[in-house]
Assembly symmetry: C2
Homo-oligomer: 236 residues x 2
DNA sequence: CGCCAGCTTGAATCTACTCAAATCTTGTGG
DNA sequence: CCACAAGATTTGAGTAGATTCAAGCTGGCG
């Protein structure tokens, strides 16, 4: 599948949508047009606040965000990461309310998601995107419920590699991972200290390298085999 | 909101849908009509198999099922429970594939979900149902990631109480819980042995009673406060 | 009435957590 | 460009929560 990305700098979101469903000309143009009116959200600011009304769906163009749940005593759990090409707040009922807070982890660029009616392929892409979102939530549940620390880390890194790969933001097991170990811990249901120890171990075992926010998984296929991971699939 | 349920024996599914969105006459009739052509699935049989094509969405009329993920070494994680009034396999893209296996835990009765176009309120109910499903997945993630064993059990029981209440299957903190401790453990990311110990403790503390598949939460509001649980909300 | 699945209890072990402190990075203002 | 502060990573030691393995118990059902 070769899609003309027209030398747009910010083509990760478009690339990801095209990877879900090859978009037709109308769909691609709708995305390009929408992305011209973008907004910037600084780290630690909220993209969406739990319990507040959702005005419009958003398309993430750049940066990392996290959907989080905060417990009354301050414990924090990241339910999933929001990456370029992801849609947030796509609901079909009246007066939808955000079911969770989404917070920017890096500077994030978003735009109003182009209307699905602009192109049937775009509507399909949204539907496939929603199915992916669900599949990744299920994967996160299995990860937290039944994997140990080492497996959780490996499995999450492989998932991020897979997702970023669709947006053209990863190649050869290598991708930018602009997170702190603390943030990783909040996603993995572990403490930062333990994540640190397990990362050291993975480094010593030659499984990964991570420096200057650049993660390298040396042999993704081998690691996937080792932790028993299968890639996500939602349509046949 | 008073909805005439016409003395139908099997009104849990209809009650739950009406609790999501008050259905109009056309919507209610569509559900009643659909439920006349129902199928029965025995315990341990699969309602849906991961990776297989989804033919049609189903509406659960009776019984309990579990959406599960099995790891290569046999570890099992239940991602969520499927209860009367729940919809499964509702996707909007072409050639959808089941993202997880759903297995019956009790005898389950399902029917083909009535077409959303039968009534606008029914379409709304489906959308709200989907939003609930997502919210419960998020809740499950926070539960597994950040709650300890006692909190996980309490939180899950309160969620089940809330959900069954919508279907008219729970009152006063009392509901039928036709699961083994092993199954509960698979949902909670714990071992059956540890679930047993924690249940004993909760019983001794006077928080719950559970005998003959009848669960009683003695003071749901107090327990919710104790474990810091807020009910799910998806529209305002 | 005996069997079997599910429940219960005990003891030992282990994974991950907590608390604490040292070191390394990064960004900022002088 | 350096000094410093704040944030992030690393390491150690002790602890706690959950697991594992094992064995005995109970009740529903053929």
């Amino acid at each position: 599948m070769t899609i003309d990305l027209d030398g747009i700098t910010d083509n990760a979101a478009l690339a990801r949508l095209c990877a879900l469903v090859p978009l037709d000309e109308a769909g691609r143009n709708a995305v390009r047009l929408a992305s011209e009116r973008s907004r910037r959200i600084m780290p630690r600011r909220e993209v969406q606040v739990e319990g507040s009304a959702i005005r419009e769906p958003l398309l993430v163009l750049r940066g990392w965000a996290a959907r989080i749940r905060i417990l009354s005593d301050g414990r924090r759990q990241i339910t999933n990461f929001t990456l370029p090409g992801d849609l947030v707040g796509l609901y079909r009922h009246d007066r939808p309310v955000a079911s969770s807070t989404i917070v920017a982890l890096t500077p994030v660029t978003v735009c109003t998601a182009p209307d699905a009616s602009a192109s049937s392929t775009l509507g399909q892409a949204y539907a496939v995107s929603a199915a992916h979102d669900e599949a990744y939530l299920l994967a996160q549940i299995a990860r937290l419920g039944r994997l140990n620390a080492h497996e959780r880390i490996a499995d999450l890194l492989l998932e991020l590699l897979e997702r970023l790969g669709m947006a053209g933001l990863a190649t050869q097991g290598r991708f930018g991972l602009p997170l702190t170990q603390e943030t990783l811990a909040d996603a993995l249901g572990l403490t930062a200290v333990h994540v640190n120890r397990m990362l050291q171990q993975a480094r010593r075992a030659g499984e990964i390298s991570w420096q200057a926010k650049e993660m390298v998984i040396h042999d993704p296929a081998a690691l996937a085999r080792q932790v028993g991971r299968a890639p996500v699939q939602v349509s046949g």
